[in-house]
């Protein structure tokens, strides 16, 4: 999937140690009445102009965290600061923050125009200015011709755009989006992803989006945070998260991963040699942090980083033998499920370079899978 083009200056705000974060979440915890920790000691810094995603399965606390930022939930502990100003105690209607709700929450008794104007009216702006701003917003989401319609006369995609226009109309410093594309069908969702990123670039507002769709998060975000059970597991750019997952959970949650467990038997500088029962041999892999011999580790390998080879590599490392069990033909690529002799199923992705309907491999073929020393990640968690 192509990545939307981004302004390079906005990309590395979080890499600049002197940059002041725009939004700071400090040790926020939200405990619900039953004693469940929906959000558990979360700290995050988000910079101006970012498109930040909170990614996780349903019930991981990402929506609760978003509602804390909107002021719809009060955190049990912790503070929220925008540009250094503590907004933890501010009610939602006094925050410089707007939210686009998952259900869109459009007012059914108001027209599109009135919905978009609602927030502006609360600011007691002049009538002319409100009209101007509404027109500008409807133009932005290409809904001008539907201004006089009521929400029930719109399609799902149109409602989504009205909700976006309404939440952007007040020029908030921070826009929160709760599963903004969740209710759209696949084709529309893909188109809207780019549109949303383009709009974000144009208005320059900081966006925080909650999503359970990892592809969506990868495509749209400048950075993302993977959440599980109320905690943040990893924060990084889509590339960092995909190529350098910090834990087995992240590796398996973002994309597919083949994980081989083993034990470090040799550690020379950054090159580790791992004895793995799962491959029945040794795995050599680079790892930045020093590890002592004997540490139990797992090695995560993405399906596209495995190669189907005729014979095991000469050095006898970094390979596994198995039998093809399933073939998933996706057109551009094929996914093979290979059952190893050690009893694990390994996914391997092969690009279909030549045009043919039947691949070079077929069911029950015995194959060797090999990989490079830079192909995988060594995980200790």
């Amino acid at each position: 999937m192509p990545q939307p083009k981004r302004d390079p200056a906005a990309l590395d705000a979080w890499q600049d140690p002197s940059a002041r974060p725009f939004l700071e979440i400090r040790n926020v915890t939200k405990v619900f009445d039953g004693g469940t920790y929906a959000v558990d000691d979360v700290s995050l810094s988000i910079f101006k102009g970012e498109f930040f995603s909170l990614l996780g399965a349903s019930g991981c606390g990402k929506s609760t965290l978003l509602r804390v930022l909107a002021g719809l939930e009060r955190p049990s502990h912790g503070r929220v600061l925008i540009e250094g100003e503590d907004i933890t105690e501010l009610p939602p209607y006094e925050r410089p923050v707007n939210m686009m709700f998952q259900s869109y929450a459009l007012f059914p008794h108001m027209t599109v125009e009135q919905n978009v104007a609602f927030g502006l009216k609360q600011e007691r702006l002049g009538r002319g200015e409100i009209r101007e701003r509404v027109a500008e917003m409807l133009e932005l989401v290409r809904m001008t011709e539907f201004a006089r319609r009521k929400p029930d006369q719109l399609s799902g995609g149109q409602r989504q755009r009205v909700a976006l226009a309404r939440s952007l109309a007040k020029h908030p410093k921070l826009l929160l989006l709760d599963e903004p594309l969740g209710a759209l069908d696949r084709k529309l969702r893909e188109r809207t992803q780019f549109e949303l990123v383009n709009i974000q670039e144009r208005v320059g507002t900081t966006f925080i989006m909650v999503t359970h769709d990892q592809e969506e998060a990868m495509t749209m975000s400048t950075r993302l945070a993977v959440m599980d059970a109320g905690r943040i597991l990893q924060v990084g750019t889509p590339g960092e998260i995909y190529e350098y997952p910090g834990s087995r959970f992240v590796a398996e949650f973002i994309g597919a991963a083949n994980v081989f467990e083993g034990r470090v038997v040799e550690a020379q500088d950054e090159l580790l040699v791992i004895q793995s029962d799962a491959t029945g041999g040794e795995i050599a892999m680079y790892h930045a942090q020093p590890l002592t011999v004997g540490t139990p580790v797992s090695v995560a390998l993405r399906p596209e980083k495995l190669r189907v080879v005729e014979a095991p590599p000469a050095d006898g490392r970094n390979w596994v033998r198995g039998r093809v069990r399933e073939i998933g033909y996706l057109g551009d690529v094929s996914i093979y499920h290979v059952a190893t002799e050690q009893g694990q199923t390994v996914q391997v992705q092969v690009t279909n370079r030549a045009r043919r309907t039947a691949g070079p491999l077929t069911w029950d073929d015995t194959v060797c899978l090999a990989w490079d020393t830079e192909a995988g990640v060594v995980l200790t968690a």
Partner: protein
Amino acid sequence: MSGPEVTATGSTRLRRGIDRGVKSLTQGRLGRALVIALPYAWLLLFLLVPVFIVIKISLAEMALASPPYSPMLQWLEGRTLALRVHLGNYAFLWQDPLYLAAYLNSLKVAAVSTIICLLIGYPMAYGIARASPSWRIVLLMMIILPFWTSFLIRVYAWIGLLQNNGLFNNLLMGLGLIDQPLPLLHSNFAVYLGIVYSYLPFMVLPLYATLVRQDLTLLEAAADLGCPPWKSFLTITLPLSLPGVIAGSLLVFIPAVGEFVIPDLLGGPDSLMIGKILWNEFFSNRDWPVASAVAVAMLVVIVIPLLLLQRIGERQTAGESR
């Protein structure tokens, strides 16, 4: 030889036939028509026909006969069929200020009672709709509970509470707040009290039904857009509950206009209401034609505001439905 087989297929065929019949009854056009036609036939027979009989009587003259009014159709000299329409009763209603005053007073009492019911009922319905689900059941039960006693008995009970040596007066005098009993009973106050008390559930229940269905994320969205809670009540909650307000108001207003029992039992000589006039015309004066004219005029008086409100309600729900 093949006897038992034949009976077997015969019985399955029969059963299939019955199944198909039941299916067509419940799913088919015939079934749907029947389900709709039965209640309509009932309404036609016991509502529309009597209304036409009343209209017919209202166009007759009083007569010392049984029934006590002149016939509408009559054979003259055996050959000609005469149709006699007598509009005098309606003219009489218009000329005698008593009737007009009674109509206006009925409308006033009904309107004021409806507004009071709305003012009391809306917060109640709102409170119930926003309560926790387990509390909701208890609170709704308390609204419905009075229906388990007869309406008449409940109105009678107010006599015991309001009369000169009733509970309220005794309590107030016991506390030394008043020296003489307050004339609570047989007053307009008692009529309002009785109507509001009796019809409050009819206001609360439809209001509750619309309020409990409301999407609370709309209020969150309003707050998010900078609208404080009091204002979001006025701009979101209240307009969206308008269908409930209209339904509840009609359920209170319509029966209150024609209310007879409450003004008769709790009202005084000056609480003139059209229901009471109707009763007097019918049973004291035994003037069936005038009584029928009073009834028909009342119907018109009620139907006009009803149609107006219905129109508003339809427009509102049309905008709300998705």
